[in-house]
Symmetry: C3
Subunit: 219 residues, 3 copies
């Protein structure tokens, strides 16, 4: 059974934060993500104030309560649209490719997608994804990367589970001592990372044959 990933949603909207308008984007995202088997552990609304957004993202990534944070809103070109800057300010690294995919998929529906300035970044091992503020835009952006997030996070979970099951802390060393587990790993790796990675020969089965970024996250 697949691990249920924990997600937090942060809606940015001056009007909704003051209660002047009902937020439909947060509930819409929750419904979509829960339908995909994710666990939405928080959904909050904040006004479009950069410092406040950054502080919340820091608090959520300092804690260990989720793997992914979706923000919604504040990605446009108006003076109060500061979510990308507030996200960038706290992230250790950016993942431009995910933002590019969301925009290029969005462009198939509406030219306005080119104006979405959302970024994607990583802080303390958690992924922060900026979505547009509209229900439709937010849902379409999530759909554009959901398969990738699902397969990737699912894979990490599977690798983690296998490692824990085998009691492997130092994988490279363990592989040398436990050749009997190699076949299982080979198959797992082949499934997870494709035929080119870590399959076929014994020398290719150690943790070192994982793409570097996966290997370092696994440990």
């Amino acid at each position: 059974m697949a691990h249920i990933h924990r997600v937090k949603i942060l809606v940015l909207s001056d009007a909704a934060s003051r209660g002047e308008r009902e937020d439909r984007t947060g509930p819409g995202l929750r419904q979509l993500l829960e339908g995909e088997g994710w666990h939405v552990v928080a959904c909050e609304i904040l006004p479009d104030v950069g410092a406040g957004i950054s502080r919340r993202l820091e608090a959520w990534t300092d804690a260990d309560g989720c793997e992914v944070i979706f923000t919604a809103g504040g990605t446009g070109v108006g003076p109060r649209d500061v979510t990308p800057e507030a996200t960038r300010a706290v992230c250790e690294k950016e993942v431009p490719g995910l933002a590019e995919v969301m925009r290029s998929e969005g462009l198939k529906k509406t030219r306005l997608a080119a104006l979405s300035r959302g970024t994607v970044g990583v802080r303390k091992g958690k992924l922060i994804v900026n979505l547009p503020g509209s229900v439709r835009g937010a849902r379409e952006s999530v759909m554009a990367i959901l398969a990738l997030l699902r397969s990737r996070l699912g894979n990490l979970d599977r690798v983690r589970r296998v490692i824990k099951t085998l009691g492997m802390v130092n994988c490279t060393a363990d592989f040398q001592q436990q050749p009997s587990v190699i076949n299982g790993f080979s198959e797992l790796f082949a499934d997870v990372f494709g035929k080119d990675h870590g399959v076929g020969a014994r020398s290719a089965v150690g943790m070192g044959s994982l793409p570097g970024n996966i290997a370092t996250e696994v440990e």
Copy 2:
């Protein structure tokens, strides 16, 4: 009748600024934009010097004489190509999606489009768009985003006009007091922003139902 948008063109070229070469890109852009119904209120040539470019962009965005600035030239990878850096230095926010669209459209014509480093940003509510320096490259890049700029700016103008007509300064409050204007807004919003935004129910018609970035720019 559509509002005629005001545009300024800044050509960056050492040779043209010294009069050693005739600039064909500025006139080419002017012809294209005027053919689209835009009003080109300035077209100047500067050498490829970062500080000078930044100062001119600041002066043009400090004033209220245009909605859009197109630069042409200085987007390549040579040592004198400094327009993207000079633009980034003065912009409050970047709009990477517009630059991505210009490059991806350009790639359909020539692989060299991948080397164009042009950025798009916003300062004081004005859009600054970096175009390549060649006549062909500049025209193709403008064409790639013209429909988007036209529809978006046209929409903002329409919203502004309706608001001014109705004498609405605080739109949320006004909506509560003037239910009779709701239908007109619903239709406008539906036309401008699509079916998902602000149409159908009364609660969805207030200014709050505009995508945040539009709403904040409107008032």
Copy 3:
């Protein structure tokens, strides 16, 4: 005969740098590039440490031993993936379009390409290209931009050779004095830059009619 371009390869991998794992990406890249007629003058392995990566890139670009540097590895989202940041720290300018092309081509093979954070930049006239660490990912990324690099670098070489042959240092001046060489240049430029650039009329044949970035590199 085409000039053979000089390339340096920098593989980033903690495990390979300690000798715990055989590096297959460096040799794979060397084979691919040499098959294309490039000259691989160095291939080194470093651990995933930002400062060390930056120092090596500075040393290689300070020297005049290559036109292009390919890095491989450290582009993912893990805590030890620091190659894009280490590259950005030393580059004078970024070339986002090349990174976008590598990712969009990669996406046709695997969704995981969206997670590659590789950047492309320029320092002291040398191009630095971040590739993923896997053999397959690195090769596919190189293939995505190889034609562009080949045509562009090839073109620059041809222009340089013509200029040297003619003894032209100040091209604009020389053109005015040597109308007899104009035809050759016209053809070269037409071939290199396409029909719109510098072809047909005498006034369009001077160096000024080259796209700015090419002209400045040619000097």
